[in-house]
């Protein structure tokens, strides 16, 4: 999607969210069937944040992501087949099978990578924003991070420096309710967006399950950053419908949330909610949603199937990454 492009229609938001949802559902099934080599942290329920934010970015804008990064990768234009191949550990993966789920990156699309360290992308995005500022290119650096990362000191460091230097940095906190297995309220004091206020960085809290609200808040932040007005913090309130990591029930002995709570948020699913809104506005036929969902599912399943048939990397390919190898 291209910022402020009249061609970016509401249906594109819906399609963008469905691409992520269908990809994550496929990976959930793959995990259950035991066909994934490593852990996956799924983005189901949070799609409106990635799609809303990335709808306002251009290909040359930078993003950094999290361990829950598939949604950001896809929303920023990453190729689904190359992502599946990466998660499957295949040679055709976007990172050649060297990185896996927690490290999907496509620099050509401005995706500096998912990051396995909570808060690990904050410094990287700040550096990318510094590069953009030095280049005078109007690019922005966007950092997706979770509520858990709000407990990392580097967030305060970044707010301080971004304010001082007026960096074109947009900090997107996806508050999905949990720091791994700890409910946010138990590990995070205060409101996350208010952490920006003492630094003089504009901040706001938005409904992270409302794709249009996320896009609108991001649009303001991007405009400010491109015009030299500096950084913004956006806290998007959303909910992680799946666990921290697939298969967690196998090692967790106690529940850390109730079924009622999950049901409550399921009713607020960003995709169902937006489809209903479009129907109410007369912008989507009742059967239109189902058709779109089936179409997207077909594309995603085909991408996954094809990736699953790709070969693993050659062991010799490790040598290419030794220091001193060209």
């Amino acid at each position: 999607m291209i910022p402020n492009d009249p061609a970016t229609r509401p249906i594109d938001f819906l399609r963008g969210m469905l691409i992520i949802r269908k990809a994550e559902e496929r990976l959930a099934r793959d995990f259950k069937s035991g066909s994934l080599p490593g852990p996956v942290h799924l983005y189901i329920g949070q799609e409106a944040v990635a799609v809303g934010v990335c709808s306002q970015l251009g290909a040359r804008d930078w993003i950094t992501s999290t361990h829950r990064g598939h949604g950001h990768f896809l929303a920023k234009g990453g190729d689904p087949a190359a992502m599946f191949a990466e998660v499957y550990g295949r040679r055709s993966g976007i990172c050649g099978g060297f990185g896996g789920s927690m490290h999907v990156a496509d620099v050509s699309k401005g995706i500096l990578g998912a990051n396995g360290i909570v808060g690990g992308g904050i410094g990287l995005a700040t550096g990318a924003a510094l590069a953009a500022q030095l280049d005078g290119s109007g690019q922005v650096g966007v950092c997706f991070f979770g509520d858990g990362a709000a407990a990392q000191g580097v967030l305060g460091e970044a707010l301080n420096l971004a304010a001082l230097w007026k960096l074109p940095l947009i900090l997107i906190c996806e508050n999905n309710g949990f720091s791994e297995f700890s409910p946010t309220g138990r590990v995070i004091a205060g409101a996350i967006f208010e952490r920006a206020q003492p630094f003089g960085v504009p901040a706001r809290r938005v409904d992270g399950n409302d794709v249009e609200a996320v896009a609108a808040a991001t649009a303001d932040a991007v405009t400010r950053a491109r015009e030299g007005g500096g950084a913004t913090l956006i806290e998007a309130i959303t909910y992680r419908l799946h666990g921290h990591v697939e298969g967690e029930s196998a090692f967790l002995k106690t529940q850390y949330r109730t079924g009622d709570e999950i049901e409550h948020w399921r009713r607020d699913d960003p995709i169902g909610r937006f489809a209903a809104l479009l129907e109410a506005r007369g912008e989507l036929d009742p059967e239109g949603f189902e058709l779109l969902e089936q179409e997207v599912k077909k594309i995603i399943e085909a991408a996954a199937d094809s990736a699953g048939n790709d070969p693993y990397p050659d062991v010799d390919s490790l040598d290419a990454h030794l220091l001193g190898a060209a």
């Binding site: 904050i122 990287l124 700040t126 550096g127």
Partner: protein, 326 residues
């Protein structure tokens, strides 16, 4: 050749590389004030866009260096005292040293982390470490440890031009030492050791500030008829294995002098290398001469007693000169 202090040679290297390539930027705490003198004058000469005084935020600083490098800059990140590597360590260990492989080479990081380390000035336990092996153990980052003004300049210039991360560790206590520095565009390759003094009876591998102590020891030992060969690895990762092995093949005896603590010094890997590859050449046990496994103490007699000096080296060499296992 021009006689220069090491710190001025480093300053020259930075200025020349910033002159040579406008994508080179310098970030760090008090790089304007420059407590060591190595960055002095650069702010005036190259301006505040490229020479950036930062807040005391090493976690962010390290991450920012990575992000700006990923976005196209050639970054020198000055961490001041080498102990501050520890506060920046996530960015160095989890980001800088990992991204090349994890992204299958999409991200190459021309970042030079520069810091001043080692004891001898009563800087006490948190400002006296020489943590080259801590970084060398990461595997994805070069570690340069110059001992002379000439090598400091040449290694730093190469480091800045290298497309992968480099940790450039200068010895705090040797910054004022004079040395001959070649005129013109003087570079020293990474991963290449140097024979500092030729000899036939014992090989001394001496790292960083330990080279001066080894030279003094060699002078004293020559009066006793023991002609030692001194090897300066110059780069601790990757190590120039062949040059060290050739020397030990010739002398049959090895002393490794390293300012790191025994528990994590280069004596371990170098001894393992020699024992594995040229065991049959050894005429005596390999002797490590290292700092004791303690925090560096403050009071001058305590500090002096725990960091290797010429006397320790002389004793070690004498011990194995008399012994023979053949």
């Amino acid at each position: 050749m021009t006689r220069k202090r090491m710190i001025h040679a480093i300053n020259d290297a930075l200025a020349e590389e910033m002159e040579r390539d406008e994508r080179v930027i310098l970030i760090g705490e008090d790089v304007g004030a420059s407590i060591f003198g190595d960055t002095r004058g650069l702010l005036d000469r190259f301006g505040p866009a490229r020479v950036r005084d930062t807040p005391i935020s090493e976690a962010l600083l390290g991450g920012m260096a990575v992000g700006a490098a990923a976005a196209g800059y050639r970054v020198v990140c000055h961490l001041m005292y080498a102990n501050f590597v520890y506060t920046a360590f996530d960015a160095i260990a989890n980001q800088a040293a990992r991204l090349r492989l994890m992204t299958n080479g999409q991200i190459r990081l021309p970042v030079t982390f520069i810091a001043s380390g080692g004891g001898g000035r009563s800087n006490a336990g948190q400002h006296s470490d020489y943590p080259h092996t801590t970084v060398a153990g990461l595997g994805g980052i070069y570690v340069a440890t110059p001992a002379t003004a000439s090598d400091a300049k040449g290694l730093l210039k190469t480091a800045i031009r290298t497309d992968d991360p480099v940790f450039f560790l200068q010895p705090t206590s040797r910054g004022g030492e004079m040395g001959e520095v070649p005129d013109g565009d003087h570079t020293v390759p990474l991963g290449k050791a140097r024979i500092v003094r030729e000899g036939g009876s014992v090989t001394i591998v001496a790292i960083g500030a330990m080279l001066r102590a080894a030279n003094k020891a060699a002078e004293a030992l020559s009066e006793e008829g023991i002609d030692v060969e001194i090897v300066d690895p110059r780069t601790c990762f990757p190590l120039d294995e062949n040059l060290i092995l050739d020397s030990v093949r010739k002398t049959g005896r090895l002393v490794v002098v390293d300012e790191a603590r025994r528990a994590g010094s280069m004596a371990g890997p170098i001894a393992a290398l020699v024992a594995e590859k040229v065991f049959d050449s050894l005429k005596a046990p390999i002797v490590p001469v290292t700092t004791r496994d303690l925090a560096i103490a403050y009071a001058p007699p305590l500090e002096q007693a725990m960091i290797p000096g010429p006397t320790d080296i002389i004793e070690a060499v004498r011990r194995i000169s008399k012994e023979s296992v053949t």
